[in-house]
């Protein structure tokens, strides 16, 4: 009886998560195999959307790696988190708060020597690069 209980528990343990994970695991296996060897930019376009991925590429090409910029969030969601990672090691400036809206940008004093402003516009939208002098 006790041995049966043990075998039952062992089986339960193995199967406890299987119905939830097996379909996803197999799907990832097939999807991963399908996209293996894909160039990074193509993968980024597929996952993040072409507008966002190409927008990031344009900003990367325009700003040197040690450039400083002010990061503004124009969407309701914090898409600037995505943008700061994709633009790193370019350096976003911190001016009081991380979630800097366009309205707030007009209120705060700009950091000295600020040349660039990057506007995050949502998860799949192209971020925009602006010259600080042109933004009022």
């Amino acid at each position: 009886m006790k041995r049966r209980a043990r075998v039952l528990l062992v089986l339960l343990a193995v199967l406890s998560a299987a119905p939830f994970s097996v379909p996803t695991l197999l799907a990832r296996l097939l999807e991963g195999a399908r996209h293996a060897g894909e160039p990074l930019l193509d993968a980024r376009r597929r996952v993040h959307g072409a507008a966002y991925a190409d927008g990031i590429e344009r900003i990367r090409a325009a700003l040197p790696e040690n450039a400083e910029y002010l990061l503004v969030e124009a969407a309701d969601s914090p898409s600037f988190i995505w943008v700061q990672y994709d633009l790193a090691p370019r350096r976003p400036l911190l001016v009081g708060e991380a979630f800097l809206t366009p309205a707030r940008l007009r209120q705060i004093p700009r950091p000295k020597g600020l040349e660039w402003i990057v506007v995050a516009r949502g998860a799949r939208e192209a971020p925009q690069l602006l010259r600080a002098a042109e933004v009022r």
Binding site: K2, R3, A5, R6, V7, L9, V10, L11, L12, A13, V14, S16, A17, A18, P19, F20, S21, V22, T24, L25, L26, R28, L29, E31, G32, A33, R34, H35, A36, G37, E38, L40, A43, R44, V47, H48, E65, N66, E68, L71, I81, W82, Q84, Y85, D86, A88, P89, R91, P92, L93, L94, A98, P111
Partner: protein, 446 residues
């Protein structure tokens, strides 16, 4: 990303780690899969840990040359000394092992293919761990001005940087900018973890139990494809591996050099690493006979903590978690964690029905549970509850965001407890050496 690039990134840590398993006396004679799993942990601890220390203390640049020399040192030492080969006792092949091997193999293959195909998409990986790695790599220093200077928007700049340093090293050595390479490093913790589950469960619960628990673990969504597990750039699974392996090795009384390495790595992996490493050591120190033996792991924790403190001292803290001062009200807050905790345990999207089944197993096999393991898990839970109580975020939210990750940090000792319980369900006596009370477990088992 080409296959040779991916292989080079993984071998950067695996090769020196494997060499270390040939040099360290407490792991030298173990079976090949266990040496590979521990080798992955030791290699990462050695290469990234030394780079972290040399960069901060001696301003050594994180260049390809420095990384290459560090990775080559253990390999050269191992090849030069080739300590007398201890014969590994060949065991009869048991077909049952094919079950966890197949399930774990499929789960690992799915994860590696996913990591090789898709860029980083997890929130914390992009916000914190991956961004830190890019700033460190660009500065070729763990003291990157972007991290230290409060002028820049960086999230959690004081988080321990062992894993970001490992990411930076892998990218630097391969000359790659491909973020998918960094995902592979985290994916490698899955087969490492599964191997350790098997290795620690087999001597405690027997072959059937080890096969069952390894298979069960390989099918946990949280572990295998959730971004909080091995699929993202989160440091919880690496911490769980460093911490769990060192604690269980200490409990088994199989030497102290490997646990010392791994405990230091745990401290440098995540902020929770230090209190949890202290808890692990404290539990092992309880029997008076262990005290002198544990000097090396204790020293490793102290040195890693001191190093972390000096590194953090130069960083302007910003954009990070806020904690309130301890108070009586905090106790009430901690009590409020019960309901969201229950919800996290029952979250089928992350865990399936694993925890209800685990609770049943623990209940039925409660007589066989190891007291040191129980004590460690209890201490860790008290620590987590304390952190939640003092955190300024609403208790439901902070529990929901962290508990599933904390469970990964405790996964190895938790699964070892399940092995004990399953062993005793049918009345099989506890392992010799008193897994229930002492710190012993059968020797020469993994």
């Amino acid at each position: 990303m080409s296959v040779p690039t991916a292989a080079a990134a993984l071998l950067l840590f695996l090769a020196p780690g494997f060499a270390l398993t040939g040099l360290l006396p407490d792991v030298r004679g173990r079976a090949l899969p266990v040496r590979l799993a521990l080798g992955w942990l030791l290699g990462l601890a050695w290469v990234a840990g030394m780079l972290y220390a040399l960069s901060h203390l001696l301003q050594v640049a994180l260049s390809g040359t420095a990384i290459g020399i560090l990775a080559a040192l253990p390999v050269v030492a191992w090849l030069a000394t080739r300590p007398s080969r201890r014969t590994v006792r060949r065991r009869r092949f048991r077909p049952l092992v094919l079950v966890p091997l197949a399930i774990g193999g499929i789960a690992s293959a799915a994860l590696f293919l996913d990591a090789a195909a898709n860029p980083v998409t997890d929130w914390d990986g992009r916000m914190t761990w991956g961004a830190h790695a890019r700033h460190i790599r660009a500065a070729r220093s763990v003291d990157a001005d972007t991290l230290r200077n409060g002028r820049y928007l960086v999230f959690h700049p004081r988080y321990p940087a062992l894993l970001p340093v490992a990411q930076a090293a892998a990218l630097e050595v391969t000359g790659s900018e491909d973020e998918r390479l960094t995902r592979l490093l985290y994916a490698a913790f899955l087969p490492c973890f599964l191997t350790l589950v098997f290795a620690f469960s087999a001597p405690r619960g027997g072959l059937l139990v080890a096969c069952a628990l390894t298979s069960a673990a390989a099918l946990l969504p949280q572990l295998t494809y959730d971004s909080w597990g091995a699929a993202g750039l989160e440091s919880d699974l690496p911490l769980g591996c460093f911490l769990g392996a060192s604690f269980l090795l200490l409990v088994q009384r199989r030497g102290v050099s490997t646990p010392a390495f791994l405990l230091a790595a745990a401290v440098l992996t995540k902020s929770e690493g230090l209190p949890l490493a202290i808890a692990a050591l404290a539990v092992c120190l309880l029997p008076a006979r262990n005290r002198r033996r544990l000097l090396a792991p204790a020293l490793a924790i102290v040195l890693a903590a001191f190093f972390l403190w000096t590194w953090r001292a130069g960083i302007t803290d910003r954009m990070t978690d806020a904690y309130a001062a301890p108070s009586l009200a905090a106790l009430g807050r901690a009590a409020g964690a019960l309901r969201p905790s229950l919800a996290a345990f029952l979250d089928t999207q992350r865990w399936g029905l694993f925890w209800p089944v685990a609770a049943l197993i623990l209940l039925m096999g409660r007589r066989g549970l190891s007291r040191p393991l129980l004590l460690f898990v209890a201490l860790a839970l008290v620590f987590y509850a304390g952190a939640w109580a003092l955190h300024t975020t609403a208790i439901e939210k902070i529990v929901e965001r962290t508990l599933s990750r904390f469970l990964l940090q405790l996964a190895l000792p938790a699964l070892a407890l399940l092995s004990d319980a399953l062993r005793t369900v049918d009345g099989t006596p506890r392992p010799a050496g008193g897994a229930g009370g002492g710190l012993g477990a059968p020797r020469n088992t993994i």
